[in-house]
Amino acid sequence: MSAFTIASIPREELLAPGHRMCQGCGAAIVMRHLLKALGKDIIIAHATGCVEVTTSLYPETAWRVPWIHVAFENAAAVASGIEAAVKALKRKGLMNPEKKVKVVAIGGDGGTVDIGLQALSGMLERGHNVLYVLYDNEAYMNTGIQRSGATPLYAWTTTTPAGKVWRGEWRRKKDIVGIVRAHGIPYVATVNFAYISDFYVKLRKASEIEGPTFIHAYAPCVPGWRYEPHLTVKIAKLAVQTGIWVNYEIDRGSFRVTTPVPKRLPVEEYLKTQGRFAHLMKEEVELIQKLVDEDVDYINKLAGSVVVGPVERK
């Protein structure tokens, strides 16, 4: 699988054109490649959110695979039920036991780290054979950019505005991967589509492993992060190059950084691309840098060597 190249990306589009996601939408890129990576033999249970509303406007649909949306907080529970049904129907001879079906749950950050956290925990703990994909655009974008538990420090949102007293979000992003891995599931990974081969390899691995698996996908949001649509992939790349986002996997307990970054760029390079950080003062940027440095130290400790290097000033 390490021989995966861009040429290996399937031609077939399972996300139909004509959906209503924004120009430059990070989540749209995640969905398109997620479907190409996983193929047709899947059933998707989708939480309420940006992608759900923009892809399923009746009487049209962008989904060329079986797809169900029920509510905001229960994608993991719905997926659990689908997986149980497939298992029971196969065992009882009511469905061809040879039939290939992988159940995939998809939720945004609000639907996963906030309102859907309980259902997610239940699904992971019960050991369902479900791949859960979190597309993280770091706020409630569908309702108009309200902060979620996944909003990063100092980010402007409509409910954490930068004013005379508030300086944007004042709490740190929730460590959802830490919470998920605490369930002892066989596979957890972070993905960033700016590193597309890594994205494909991980999605396919997560899909092939029997049992609950979890993918945390980085998904920039043009209107929510306040940048021009053509910058999506550039910003995604900067996230990795600055160490704000680290591509790694925990495969049956073994931790590995899959995109080593020998020399990091300062976080400022990332922050300055987005209007949500436009109000930041020097000291605030410095604090974010310090916290990212600490996170990188922790990652390197887990990796057992320096896979994400020090900041190199230009």
Binding site: K40, D41, I42, I43, A45, H46, E52, V53, S56, L57, Y58, P59, T61, W63, R64, V65, P66, W67, I68, H69, V70, A71, E73, N74, A76, A77, V78, A79, S80, G81, I82, A84, A85, V86, K87, A88, L89, R91, K92, L94, M95, K99, K100, V101, Q118, A119, S121, G122, E125, R126
Partner: protein, 395 residues
């Protein structure tokens, strides 16, 4: 015929679920429903029922999981009470509007606060606007039988609506009664598994749970209203066929002595039994009382109800729930009054709320209600000063 066993209402429900060979069970424990789930777990653990049993982390997830399983083509079951039902409330609407043939048992119980685990109909009534077909069983046998009938009704392609079977918490759920248990073969002959709906299948991809704009949402909701209205015939047919096969007759409503009754008492659930005992005694002392038991609550059997109230001079509706601040107070009362008004029945129809939070409903309460309603005979509805009262409450 199956064999007669001493079963509680909860166990009677579990035996019915086993008989119809469900594929997926998802449930969360709550008093007084818990024993259903325990018994089902035992059946699965012993290999008596081949089903996936989901130990979900909440009732919200219980109903969500069976929604997913039903959408994938499985025959499913869940059960709950009180707070659990309220936690499911959001998904109940989605289940009905998604037209999924889910069957649920509700061991009825009071709603917090104060927290109270005992019987009333607050939970059942709170679900009355969710678009589900709803029955209230009088006893364990009925709970058993109606669960089996529920699968036949829900999975009928003309219906395709979820069905809830209520049965009074503790009074029915925990009381042992002799129950004629229907065997799997007979149950499946009567209620064969029918998957006529589209399902989640990679070979035939469908999109379920779309976003519907103002251009389309209205039509979805109207279709549900039409479907539940049109389900009446299928329900009657299923109950007639049940009688033909198993010998036990269940109608939408049961009438007792209504032909010549001056006062008809309308009740639902275990109160009906208490009322019937009193009425039979009162009849011997010359009080011309009748009784109407509401078995089918949604769709509300208004034609049948009015038919048995037409000759009455006063009607007493007993509720075990309160819709505080409404124009009607008791939810069952509102359905009876509207049904009567539509047929221009201008007689006093009065509401008596009793038995909240498990307070026992006893014969003397029924006697008080009957006598009070009798005092209204000869009046018209607009001459009634007070349309509701609480019976059995501290002054």
């Amino acid at each position: 015929m199956g064999k007669v066993m001493p079963l509680s209402g909860n166990y009677a429900v579990a035996y019915a679920v086993k008989a119809v060979d469900v594929d997926v069970v998802a449930a969360y424990p709550i008093t007084p429903q818990t024993a259903v789930v325990e018994k089902l777990a035992e059946f699965v653990a012993n290999g008596e029922l081949d089903a996936e049993f989901l130990h979900v982390e909440s009732e919200h997830s219980a109903l969500s999981a069976v929604v997913g399983a039903s959408a994938a083509g499985a025959r499913v079951f869940t059960a709950t009470s009180a707070q659990g039902l309220l936690l499911m409330y959001e998904i109940m609407h989605i289940a009905s509007s998604s037209r999924l043939p889910i069957v649920m048992g509700i061991a009825t119980r009071a709603i917090s606060a104060p927290i109270n685990i005992w019987c009333d109909h607050s939970d059942f009534m709170a679900a009355s606007d969710t678009g589900w077909i709803m029955f209230m069983a009088l006893n364990a046998q009925e709970a058993h039988d109606l669960i089996i009938a529920a699968y036949r009704i829900a999975e009928d392609p003309r219906v395709s609506i979820p069905v809830a079977i209520g049965y009074d918490g503790f009074v029915v759920s925990h009381t042992l009664e002799p129950v004629d248990v229907i065997e799997k073969e007979e149950a499946l002959e009567y209620a064969p598994k029918r998957v006529s709906r589209p399902t989640l299948d990679p070979d035939r991809p469908v999109t379920m749970g779309s976003l519907a704009s103002p251009d389309w949402y209205f039509e979805f909701r109207v279709q549900l209203q039409d479907a539940i209205e049109n389900s009446r015939e299928t329900i009657s047919e299923a109950l007639r066929e049940f009688k033909r096969r198993f010998g036990r007759e269940y109608r939408e409503v049961d009438d007792f002595y209504t032909d010549d009754a001056d006062v008809v008492i309308v009740s639902m659930g275990s109160t009906t039994g208490t009322a019937l005992v009193f009425i039979e005694e009162a009849r011997r002392s010359g009080m011309k009382l009748g009784l109407l038991n509401i078995r089918l609550f949604r769709p509300f059997p208004e034609v049948e109800v009015v038919k048995y109230l037409e000759n009455a001079k006063a009607v007493a509706v007993i509720d075990r729930a309160v819709n505080a601040g409404s124009s009607f107070v008791g939810p069952l009362y509102s359905d009876v009054v509207v049904s009567a008004f539509k047929k221009s029945l201008d007689i006093p129809i009065v509401n008596y709320v009793t038995g909240l939070g498990g307070r026992a409903v006893v014969k003397s309460h029924i006697e008080f209600i009957a006598k009070h309603a009798y005092s209204l005979v000869g009046k018209k509805m607009r001459e009634v000063k007070k349309h509701y009262s609480f019976i059995g409450v501290r002054e």
